[in-house]
Symmetry: C2
């Protein structure tokens, strides 16, 4: 099968999550992604959970993000290491990294230098606050947690009236990784026409600010400062989770008045469907608290299973609030190949997340395991850069590359 | 300035959020996006907040998502409406929609038909569970809320031990929109080589399952079922928010042991830095509850402002937990052009979110306001499809297009 990005070579100077998410998409779509790691490996290799006996090659965290990629472990503090990186950039299409903004410049690979090395190269950098920033912001250390807090996303997530909550996965990194992928592809398309590369200056704060949805215009238009609403939606009611008889949780999402009336009929509460306080969505939004007090005992009358059967037959929008085990064992997730088995060296068969890029001709796919640390160092040096066996041995002796995998 | 996608024409049969997010990215990058709306308009035109006097052209929700796009209001229930759509697809590159999976087939525009109309066209559909699904799943009604619950994301978001919480913005729609953009661009690049279009079958459930981060491998490797942790991180400690003296919230993100020791020194608690329960991250993760009880009173000693000054000078990763007003008025957001002014017809100047695709040569930009309902119907018919004035008048008389904007 052909792959959409099969002629694209990516130098991947990434670590942990934001940039690795981007290069995961590129690799899943067939780009040759060469993950250039320090000799001690991407920090993510230290993150659990660990498969089998543990160690740098057994991190489930690293494996799931780095499937399909190659690993070149290289000491960039040495001149010879930087020479190898320069040679690789000369014959690559894309460079991706998520160091602090100053790091690449200090290493001699800032955007100015990259353009001199290869005027066609596309350079994507991801940092917390961006490279082009107010004085001092580019030096601010940032993690997903910083981006979630700074962007305002936490201020609208969590129980009503309660403290700010973190989104349970690192969406600050992950959105930035998605956006970098979009930027790189736009730059590749533009390069087709002009022959020139360009720089994407991605920022996790920008990325999360983009996805606040209507919260921003609610403030800019009306001055309202939205807060957290637990499981509820700010302007659609009822559109939230309720506890069930068996202390599980059920989500109901009645997006319009017809769905609301059908639901009321289904539970034998026609009185609510036409009630002067609840007949329309604006009314229900206004009287949400009162309506919740009426609906809580209604939902307590049946188990989650009973509700799923009843609402499923009625065709009303609903969902279980699945936990991680339930969704991982869900038949529809299996059918969609969203949880796939990979045969991982040193680990054996394990299940990781598949690709959501379900294209009919060139789908994103898990077609290779994640690399062992430095697994492809020799192959890259020999086959791609033309180093001799003797030269490679010397690089090992000088600890520019690792001696063994 | 040239734009990356300036030669790409998109037929945008989208509504509300998931697909409109995708076509927003495409339009921001210069694609000609023709939003084909029903005569009564995209449902999002009914969503608040409303600017000025309200009504279908004044929805802040619609305006922020549909900047840079054109509006063709068309009755697809009429044969003549479907003929216009067919003609438009013949000369377009991309079709995007987020109806339920059966709708496009019923209208006569399923993937089989689209290929007959234009073999080069790229077709992106987004639905809750996907078009290729287990029997019955494709007919299940889905909203963001359903995707957040079904995918498991809600089960890891919210206070520790508490009920599942919704992420405060509709990330089920928004991630799917990002992924559709990636898929469309991959398909455009593949088409350059083959001349053929393809179908992207996007699903909001797939999209959110992809971003659960380490939660999935924690389950598949160890059988652990992660739950919500409030503002805390499952495997980095301390990496969470704390209440301050002035009842505000401060985020601290000490991603490694050196940062932890520097922090302990800064607050005069060197005893914690080397403490046998807290010296390393695995120890702190194990004893997180106990450590929180020690740190809560420490953070209560200073105001948010005092903490920001202190931690800023020390260079330790931290952030205010900004609310929506604070982030909208933040100088760095202004500097990065992430909140931009648009001169919107019928509304006047208003502020909406900018583009995070900060490319040096072809950045994503807000270069035009959102369209009034049907604003470009005549222009599309006349300039793009070559209809005469008389033919357009007849279409108005027959209510195939709107009489007035």
């Amino acid at each position: 099968m052909s792959r959409a990005l099969e002629n694209i070579r990516v130098v991947d100077l990434s670590h942990v999550l934001a940039a690795p998410t981007c290069t995961m998409f590129l690799a899943d779509l067939g780009a040759e992604v060469i993950h250039v790691e320090p000799l001690h490996g991407d920090d993510a290799r230290e993150f659990g959970p660990f498969a089998g006996s543990g160690g740098k090659n057994n991190s489930g965290y690293f494996i799931s993000l780095n499937r399909n990629k190659k690993s070149l472990a290289l000491d960039l503090k040495q001149e010879k290491g930087r020479k190898i990186l320069t040679d690789l950039i000369k014959i690559s299409d894309v460079v991706v990294e998520n160091f602090r903004p100053t790091t690449m410049r200090k290493l001699g690979f800032g955007w100015e230098e990259l353009q001199r090395i290869n005027p066609k190269v596309i350079y994507a950098s991801i940092s917390g606050f961006g490279q082009d920033s107010l004085p001092g912001y580019d030096a601010r250390p940032s993690y997903d947690m910083v981006a979630q807090g700074y962007s305002g996303l936490m201020s609208i997530t969590g129980p009503e009236g309660g403290p700010p909550c973190r989104v349970g996965s690192s969406v600050g990194d992950i959105f930035a990784g998605h956006q970098a992928t979009i930027a790189i592809m736009a730059a590749l398309m533009h390069r087709e026409k002009t022959g020139r590369g360009q720089h994407f200056d991605g920022a996790m704060i920008d990325g999360l600010f983009t996805v606040l949805e209507n919260a921003v215009v609610r403030y800019t238009i009306s001055g309202e400062v939205p807060g957290p609403l637990g499981s509820a939606h700010p302007s659609i009611v009822p559109f939230q989770s309720f506890p069930t008889k068996d202390d599980s949780h059920l989500i109901i999402a009645l997006g319009n008045d017809n769905l609301w009336k059908s639901f009321c009929k289904l539970i034998g509460r026609e009185d609510l469907g036409d009630h002067p306080k609840f007949a329309t969505n604006p009314l229900r939004t206004k009287h949400r608290k009162g309506l919740e007090q009426i609906l809580i005992p209604e939902f307590k009358k049946k188990t989650r299973k009973e509700w799923l059967d009843l609402l499923g037959k009625a065709g009303l929008p609903h969902s279980p609030a699945n936990n991680i085990k339930e969704i991982c064992e869900d038949p529809h997730i299996a059918y969609r190949k969203m949880l796939v088995e990979v045969d991982q060296p040193r680990v054996g068969k394990m299940r990781i997340v598949g690709s959501p890029i379900r294209l009919s001709e060139t789908p994103g796919e898990v077609y290779a395991p994640a690399p062992l640390l430095g697994e492809h160092s020799e192959q890259v040096l020999k086959d791609i850069l033309g180093y001799t066996k003797a030269e490679i041995e010397l690089l090992k002796t000088e600890n520019v590359i690792n001696r063994e995998v």
